[in-house]
Structures are given as structure tokens and as C-alpha cells.
């Protein structure tokens, strides 16, 4: 795909994160990611997936090691430059993290705040182009009928699409997704995953998606990274992910778990 000579978009070198002194949440994680890849991170609850994702845009500070995005070492950035970095990295959450009392368009435009001066952002002044871009993205995501609705009136799937729109309006190089479908029913989950995949293909945005569902990871990813107890236990393409490897990641009962969830997913 990408020629070997090009530099990776994201590179993690020996990343370690301690919340307490005894056990590391992340233990010596290293990998690099090329532009345009769709990557899933799988692993059991509490394995460090969320921490790993948040170390990339410095929502959580690493204890040691290096995160390098687009040639910039993120840990050295000062406040203003960190904001600039974050505008290039969108983020999508399990609980959507919208301002529920505001309308869809207001929430989507929040994605532009990283580019704004203090005053313009505080007053919520957006340019005509920004508004047009927001409307365009809302239309693409099929939310045109909800533009001026308050977000607390939307369904889970619609809320997540607002979350995606907010990330896209940033014009990001990469989007981080923290369990984007864990609060959704199977049908909405499929719609959201299809959307993410097609956005990745059509707009050339790199995706890193934390997933609980192994079968979903297998279906959508170019590459799967497995994490367990803060350690990187797997890094490869979906066809390298055998049931034995899954057992390594999830423990011995995982095989049953996976087939079970696969049936449920297919049924939905």
C-alpha cells in the first residue's frame, strides 16, 4: 500500500504509563502507523485500550516513552502547539460526549473551536464557510432533518453520527474512536462502523478504533493491535488473528465469547 520510504503518520516508542506505582497501565508499547490505515485495538476491559488512545492526543500524559505524530514529538509541545496538534486528531467516544442541551449544528461546530481565537470561540462566532462545511458534513451523515434539534432528543446512533460530524469538521488527519459502538444496538453499530470505514477510504483519514467486539475488528480493519494488561500482545493483519491468538488476548474462555457475539451481531 504505502511505499516503505514514507514516514509513518504516528509512531509510539516505548510508551509507559503508570497510574500508581505498582502496576503499569501501559508497559512498553511501540508501534507505528501509516497514513490512511484503519486500525483496531482489541483487548479485555481494563487492558489499557482507552489509556493508549488518550496518550496519543495527550488527554493523558505518558510516564515515559515517546509519541510522534506527523513528525512532531507530542510530549514536548507547549499549550498552544498542543491545541494545534489536537485539531489534526479527531476523537469519538462511547458515550458520544455531546453537549446535550445544544443543537446538532452547535455541537458539530464545536469541532472548529481548536482553530478559533479566545473571543470568537467564547461567543460562538463561526464563519460562513465553517457553517457551510458543517452543513455539508451533516448532510453526508444523513442528519439534515435534525440540524436544529437538541441532541438530547436524538437516538444513540444519531448522537454518534453527530460525534463523527464534530470530528470531521476539524479536517483531521486521524480520528481516534474509543469504543464507538459499545452503547449502540447491533443495527446502529453496523451503520456507524460502515460509516467510519467509508470515511476512512474516501477521505483518506487514518482511524484508530478501540473495540470490544473481535468479530467487528476482523471485518473492518486493515490491521489489528491486541493489548492485554498494558502489553502489546498482537500486531498484524486480520487474517493473522487466529482463535488461538484471541485466546492469548482474552484468556481461555474467549473462544466461546467470540462465536457467541458473532451470532448476535449477525442476527442484528
Amino acid at each position: 500500500m504505502t511505499p516503505e520510504t514514507s514516514n509513518p503518520l504516528l509512531e509510539l516508542k516505548n510508551v509507559i504509563k503508570y497510574y500508581n506505582r505498582t502496576t503499569p497501565a501501559l508497559a512498553d508499547i511501540s508501534f507505528s502507523i501509516m497514513d490512511g490505515q484503519f486500525i483496531s485495538i482489541i483487548g479485555p476491559s481494563g487492558s489499557g485500550k482507552s489509556t493508549l488512545l488518550r496518550c496519543i492526543n495527550r488527554m493523558i500524559e505518558v510516564s515515559s516513552g515517546e509519541v510522534c505524530f506527523d513528525g512532531v514529538i507530542t510530549s514536548q509541545l507547549k499549550k498552544r502547539d498542543l491545541r494545534k496538534l489536537r485539531t489534526k486528531i479527531g476523537m469519538i467516544f462511547q458515550h458520544y460526549n455531546l453537549v446535550d442541551r445544544l443543537t446538532v449544528i452547535e455541537n458539530v461546530l464545536h469541532g472548529r473551536l481548536g482553530y478559533k481565537s479566545t473571543m470568537a470561540g467564547v461567543l460562538g462566532r463561526y464563519s460562513q464557510e465553517e457553517k457551510m462545511q458543517a452543513h455539508r458534513i451533516i448532510n453526508i451523515l444523513g442528519l439534515h432533518d435534525q440540524v436544529y434539534q437538541r441532541c438530547d432528543q436524538l437516538s444513540g446512533g444519531q448522537k454518534q453520527r453527530v460525534g463523527i460530524a464534530r470530528a470531521l469538521v476539524q479536517n483531521p488527519r486521524m480520528i481516534l474512536c474509543d469504543e464507538p459502538i459499545s452503547s449502540l444496538d447491533p443495527n446502529s453499530s453496523k451503520i456507524i462502523m460502515d460509516l467510519l470505514r467509508s470515511i476512512s477510504r474516501e477521505m483518506g483519514i487514518t482511524f484508530i478504533v478501540n473495540l470490544h467486539q473481535v468479530n467487528v475488528a476482523l471485518k473492518y480493519s486493515d490491521r489489528i493491535i491486541g493489548v492485554n494488561k498494558g502489553k502489546l500482545v498482537l500486531d498484524g493483519s486480520p487474517d493473522q488473528l487466529t482463535t488461538e491468538r484471541i485466546s492469548d488476548i482474552y484468556g481461555s474462555t474467549a473462544k466461546d465469547l467470540m462465536t457467541d457475539s458473532e451470532e448476535r451481531y449477525a442476527a442484528g
Binding site: 453537549v99 464545536h110 479566545t118
Partner: protein
């Protein structure tokens, strides 16, 4: 075995609790020589006295303009002290909340100020302030202000942490600055609940202002004190009635506002 122990322990705890309560009650009755029976019978007596003496008559109506003036003073003072306190409480709560704090040090400071002000009773505030400002409206105003500041800061901190944590995380991840986050996520999410707390505080402050007025010799509390001590029970009862009516009106109004903003 382990489980059974827990149930036995729970039952024992309950017995100990009731035993302690009984001892305290009986003990304090004996020490204060409080006659329980007489206590209950005098409630009836008080009620009978109230019906025959404690009602507004035609003559007391002459005092109505006077009383209304004092009532207005009390209501306006309560509203002013609460709203000003709310402005300061927002600033303190932004500094104190885990979601929006700038540094751990300021957070601890803000929470400390809040709990200090909240835990000193209103009457204590009034008495302390009376030493400085003597009996004047300012004393009552400041007493209400300090009490409200503590309570509102505490409630606002909880509101902010409860309703805006997720949205704040999302906005910070987009690269939004501190003030963007405050004005675009924190305030829109928490304002309705903050206003609700503010209305509640105005409500309680009007009640408390009456009591503080007793001490500071201002407002409607002073009117009551004056009439009661001069044995003008009819006028005193008129004061009580007007306070009750005012509180009912304020409460209805704030419930209406609350319904519309939530």
C-alpha cells in the same frame, strides 16, 4: 458462614443504635426535667390561644403599608444577596470543580472557602457581623451573602462535575481552549441546574432573612419583633400571614421558571 455473620452483625448494629437513642432521649428528659405530658397538652393550649388572639383585625390593617414596605426590603435584600453570591459562586466553582479547575491548589482553596462559609450557621454570621456593622441592613445582607456563597459554590461544583465532564473531555480533544470549554460546554450544560439552585436559595433566603431581621433589627423580622413585644398580636399575625403568602408566591414562581428551563 461469612454471610450469616453479616446478618447477625446488621441486627446487632440496629439494636445498639436503638439502645443508644433511648438512653439519650430518657437521659436528656431527666436532666432538663422536661415534662413530656405537659409538653403535648400545651400545644393544644397554644393553639386555642392562637385562634382567639393571633389573627389580623381591622385595626391592624392600618399597619399594612408599613409592613409591606418592610417586606419589600426583606425580599429585595434576599434576592440581591443571593444573585451577587451566585456570581462569585460560579467563579469559585469553576476554580473548585475537578472538571474545570486550573490547578489542584486553587481547587482545594475554593472548596475550603465554600465549606467554611457553608458550615458557619447563618445566625452565627449575623452575630459576628453585627459586631462590625452593628444593627443595619448591611449586616443582614452580608450574612445572607456568605451563607449563600458557601452553599451555591458547593452545589455548582457538583453540578459542573455531574453534567459537563464528558463534553469537556470532547472539546479539549478538539483543541479548544480553556475559555472555549467553559462557555461552549460547561455553562450551556450546567446553567439550568444552576438557576434551579439559585431559585431554591432565594426561596430559603427570604425565610432566613426574616430570622436574621430579628437579630439585626431590619426588615420584616424587625416588624414582627416590634409588634410582638408591644403585645400587638393582631399586627404580628398579619406579618406572619404576609410572610407565608410571599413565600408561596415566590415558590410558585420559581417552580414555573424551573419547569420552563429544564
Amino acid at each position: 458462614m461469612q454471610q450469616a455473620d453479616i446478618f447477625v452483625k446488621r441486627r446487632n448494629d440496629r439494636w445498639i443504635f436503638f439502645a443508644v437513642l433511648a438512653v439519650l432521649t430518657v437521659g436528656s428528659v431527666i436532666i432538663t426535667r422536661y415534662d413530656v405530658l405537659k409538653g403535648f397538652t400545651s400545644i393544644v393550649k397554644a393553639f386555642v390561644w392562637g385562634i382567639s388572639n393571633f389573627y389580623p383585625d381591622i385595626e391592624s390593617m392600618a399597619k399594612l403599608p408599613d409592613i409591606l414596605l418592610k417586606l419589600r426590603e426583606t425580599v429585595l435584600m434576599s434576592i440581591a444577596s443571593t444573585t451577587i453570591a451566585a456570581v462569585f459562586a460560579i467563579l469559585l466553582s469553576l476554580a473548585g470543580s475537578r472538571t474545570t479547575r486550573m490547578s489542584r491548589f486553587f481547587s482545594v482553596m475554593a472548596r475550603g472557602i465554600a465549606s467554611l462559609f457553608r458550615n458557619i450557621p447563618l445566625v452565627a454570621w449575623a452575630m459576628v457581623l453585627m459586631l462590625a456593622f452593628s444593627q443595619s441592613p448591611l449586616t443582614g445582607y452580608l450574612a445572607l451573602f456568605f451563607g449563600s456563597l458557601g452553599f451555591l459554590t458547593r452545589s455548582f461544583i457538583e453540578t459542573i462535575d455531574e453534567v459537563s465532564h464528558d463534553a469537556v473531555e470532547a472539546l479539549e480533544a478538539t483543541g479548544a481552549g480553556y475559555f472555549h470549554v467553559i462557555f461552549q460546554a460547561v455553562l450551556p450544560s450546567s446553567l439550568p441546574q444552576m438557576i434551579s439552585w439559585l431559585l431554591f436559595m432565594i426561596d430559603t433566603n427570604i425565610r432566613d432573612a426574616t430570622l436574621v431581621g430579628f437579630l439585626t433589627g431590619t426588615g420584616i423580622g424587625f416588624s414582627f419583633d416590634l409588634y410582638y413585644k408591644s403585645m400587638n398580636f393582631h399586627a404580628a399575625s398579619l406579618v406572619v400571614m404576609l410572610i407565608v403568602i410571599t413565600i408561596i408566591i415566590i415558590e410558585t414562581a420559581s417552580n414555573m421558571i424551573r419547569r420552563n428551563i429544564m
